[in-house]
């Protein structure tokens, strides 16, 4: 084997959220002198503010580090991975770019849902796993017990796992040595045709879409003609390089190395994650396995609070899309909310991130409708259509049956909360498929449950029922027939399309009642009485009333001060701009948001 490749280690760090992934990454950068301590912002790899705030990583930034071991210099490429189930596919592609994975487990918390999910992903990608027990400085730490748990639950040897405190910098050398000793070196053929994996991409205003790649075979340099094997697009390479963690141009990327390729690619959608890049003139025989086109699973309508900002919202989504090919959007019109977009997301977190970025980075006030899933509607004429917007549901008489997506869900919880968790899952139409006692302090509950039931407040409910101890993971399974109905909300007799929902018929009554009650709280009294009704088909299932207000003022227009009076009324009118008109009823933008927060 080639000497150069023998001194490369490509690895990632996987962990359950909050187990210390980013903190360990920071310590590694520091210990290898890649980043001086004084330059080290807390959790350096998470470059977006939002990520740092939430303590989660979304974007992956591969970093090249140098480390001397027994007199020889090694190149360690750290490929950070997003820690959330929404981004499972991205995680899997990042893993495919590595030979090894550090599996961090919290010495106090032990194995959690995402520890399991990530460990299995790593094993599926045939990675060598180095377990690391973190947070040994905590009083609750029990490293020996956690080691046993890793061996029992995940089935990998853990007795020699480094026990560290990433926060305090304890035993970081053990991790670095473990990386060199435990993880295999890459074994690419430098002379073979170029074969490299795109494991992420981002958009640069000057260079276009930048591909983050792992070269498996061959090499790539500036001026090369390259081809994306899934899309068949060809480009000429304008720059190659790597990150330390700032990008540094280099002469070539060779087999076994990790870095970036710029090739004047206009959109990130042309540089798809999972695609294989090869040489356009002498391509490799076959692409790397595992490519998938990512499809959104959660959908929501997004509208500007101020209708005149539609153009700005469009521009903002375009800009976000440049960097996030998994975001999908198309124009949508709502009677209640005007012009906006129906957006598709990889999951709920992805949705929240996009919504927050629109508000923070683009200063837009938005209204998002209740998140929903993609339903399969089988019509009486034999046709099947996909519907994610309740307003697009055909007349009930035209529907033969409907199907909704289900997920396999795994919940890890201390046994004392089992009853409460199972109750929650049953309420949400979940069917228990397995119960596994991992040890006396942890049980895994598996459920077959509709995706729609877990996309909004499920995780919050789970956390509050288990005092934050439970963790959750899921993967999409299949579409199954379901008795679904469209629940409409009528304000003063007019349907408010933005509040319509597709729900299971057994839950429609309760949901309708709760929504009507909630709306009564958030719709201000108006000049006239406002009846709020929930309806299925033509049938009213719940009713509330917002009474008319009786007076605003009997003021004197004194001393001829007409200007002041006019300005007061202008102000009153201005305040109404934040309201949405549903028929003649004024509904504050907040109402749409608060409706989503019903448990």
């Amino acid at each position: 084997m080639n000497f150069r490749q023998q001194h490369i280690r490509n690895f990632c760090i996987v962990a359950h959220i909050d187990h210390g992934k980013s903190t360990l990454a920071d310590r590694l950068l520091e210990a290898t002198g890649t980043v001086a301590k004084r330059d080290l912002q807390e959790q350096l790899l998470d470059s977006m503010d939002l990520e740092r705030e939430r303590g989660i990583t979304i974007k992956l930034t591969p970093t090249r580090m140098k480390y001397n071991y027994k007199g020889e210099e090694y190149i360690l490429n750290l490929i950070d991975t997003p820690g959330h189930v929404d981004f499972t596919y991205e995680v899997s592609r990042s893993l495919a770019a590595c030979e090894g994975a550090i599996l961090i487990v919290d010495a106090g918390q032990g194995v959690e849902a995402q520890t399991m999910a990530n460990a299995h992903l790593a094993l599926d990608n045939r990675l060598e796993i180095l377990p690391v027990i973190n947070k040994i400085d905590l009083p609750s730490a029990d490293p020996e017990k956690v080691k046993h748990e890793i061996e029992e639950v995940i089935g990998i040897p853990a007795m020699h796992a480094p026990c560290i405190s990433a926060k305090e910098g304890t035993n970081i050398t053990d991790v670095l040595e473990g990386i060199i000793k435990e993880f295999p070196a890459p074994r690419g053929d430098e002379d073979a045709p170029l074969k490299c994996l795109v494991f992420d991409s981002y958009y640069d205003n000057f260079k276009g879409a930048i591909c983050l790649v792992r070269v498996f075979d061959g090499s790539v340099k500036k001026g090369d003609k390259i081809k994306f094997m899934q899309t068949n697009n060809e480009f000429e390479v304008t720059e190659v390089g790597f990150f330390i963690p700032k990008p540094v141009e280099c002469e070539a990327l060779r087999a076994g190395e990790v870095g970036y390729i710029a090739a004047s690619i206009k959109k990130v959608s042309e540089a798809r994650v999972g695609d294989t890049i090869t040489n356009a003139t002498s391509p490799c025989a076959e692409a790397l396995p595992g490519y998938k086109q990512v499809k959104p699973v959660v959908f929501s309508g997004i509208f500007p609070v101020d209708g005149s900002k539609y153009g700005e919202l469009k521009d903002a989504l375009e800009k976000l899309k440049l960097n996030d090919s998994s975001l999908e959007y198309s124009p949508e019109t709502s009677v209640a909310l005007g012009f906006g977009f129906r957006c598709g997301f990889l999951g709920l977190l992805h949705m929240e991130i996009i919504q927050e970025r629109l508000e923070r980075e683009f200063n837009l006030e938005i209204i998002a409708t209740a998140p929903g899933v993609n339903y399969h509607i089988y019509k009486t004429n034999g046709e099947m259509i996909e519907v994610s917007n309740p307003s697009n549901l055909p007349e009930p008489s035209l529907i033969e049956h409907m199907e909704e997506p289900y997920v396999n869900m795994h919940i890890f919880t201390p046994p004392e909360y089992m009853g409460s968790v199972m109750e929650l899952c049953t309420e949400r139409r979940g069917e228990n498929t397995d119960i596994v006692y991992l040890d006396e302090k942890r049980v895994r509950l598996d459920y077959d449950i509709p995706l729609n039931e877990i996309i909004y407040d499920f995780f919050d409910s789970l956390k509050s029922r288990t005092r934050g101890y439970a963790s959750l993971d899921y993967e999409l399974s299949e579409y199954k027939p379901s008795k679904l109905v469209k629940l409409d909300i009528l304000l003063k007799g007019e349907v408010c399309d933005a509040l319509s929902l597709i729900v299971h018929q057994d839950k429609a009554y309760e949901r309708g009642r709760i929504m009507a009650e909630k709306l009564k709280e958030v719709i201000p009294r108006q000049m006239f009485e406002v009846p709020i009704q929930a309806a299925i088909g033509g049938k009213i299932i719940a009713r509330e009333t917002v009474k008319a207000y009786r007076k605003d003022v009997l003021a004197k227009c004194y001393g001829g001060d007409v200007t002041r009076k006019r300005k007061l009324l202008e102000k009153q009118k201005e305040g109404k701009k934040k309201m949405r008109n549903i028929g003649s009823v004024e509904v504050p933008s907040d109402a749409f948001i608060s409706i989503l927060k019903i448990d």
Partner: protein, 372 residues
Amino acid sequence: MKNFGLYIHIPFCVSKCSYCDFCSFVPNHKQMQDYISALKREIVETGEQTKDKVVTSVYIGGGTPSTLYSGAIVEIMDCVRKNFNLIKNCSVTIEANPNSFDNEQAIEYASIGCTRLSLGLQSDNDKILKVLNRVHNYHDCVNAIEAARLNGMTDINVDLILGVPQQTISDLQVTLSKVVNLPITHISVYGLINEPNTPLTKAIEQGKYTLPPEDEAVDMYNLTVKTLAEHGFYRYEISNFSKIGYRSAHNMNYWRRGEYLGLGLGAHSFINGTHFHNTEDFSKYLDAPANCKEDIEPETLKTAKEETIMLALRTTDGLDITEYNKTFSADFLQEYQPVLNKLLKNNLIEIKNNKLIIKDPYISNSIIAEFF
């Protein structure tokens, strides 16, 4: 020649009422003298600029004009008559406090052609008058009316106030039953407004007083409208009621968006298509009474339309659509079609004989704001 109304502000009171944020204060004699001479200078200089116009009504308000030293009002009115073209039989109203108006004043005011008296009674109830920090009682008012009538001032208005802390429906019933039997022609009924920084507002914020609930305030208003109508006082504006033929000419001019000129400290004007007001700073006013205009705002098509609608909809005559269309070369019904549909559908307005009228006066602000 164009007509306009003349308003003269007297910013003095014997004491300040707890709810008042008008431009007024308790003066000494020198301040009164200085003010009267400044006011006369303003009358002379502005009169010069309005030679081409005719004054159709004069309103001397405040503050409390009747707190002025004897002879002051005569000085002012003489000066006004010399410098402005008053129409023949021009209506001249003067405001007075029930306890600062007696036979002496009645003689003085009648002598210079005051035809109309406006008395700030507010309530007959001593408990409520105390909350308001008023310094008179009901008997003062009865005496003032008698004095006025003895001297030929028979067109008399009484101000009442609604929705005061501690005021109950039965309190109001008593007040109304007394007032309707007074020999008067006009009653103004204002809802209490909590202006920021008044002593009453502060007392309410501190929890010393609580306002009557919204529903009760509306009930009070409805009771007022009904009781007054039963006794021949018909509502013609949100807060104004009169016997037939006794509407306030000066105020009607405001609601028709006629021109008016305000003289004196802080007085507001709308003349030659421009809104402005005099300074509220007493010494600035004394320095340059005819040259202390602030917030000068020429009308725009938008503000002209908004004001026309806002003012007209306060009256029971409503907005004359034909006149609106003529004034603005517009088609009102088309211009406001969606708003009109919404309001008509909810039975909040009616259109009769090409006049738009608000049906529900207590939410007039919200209705009017729809047109903005």
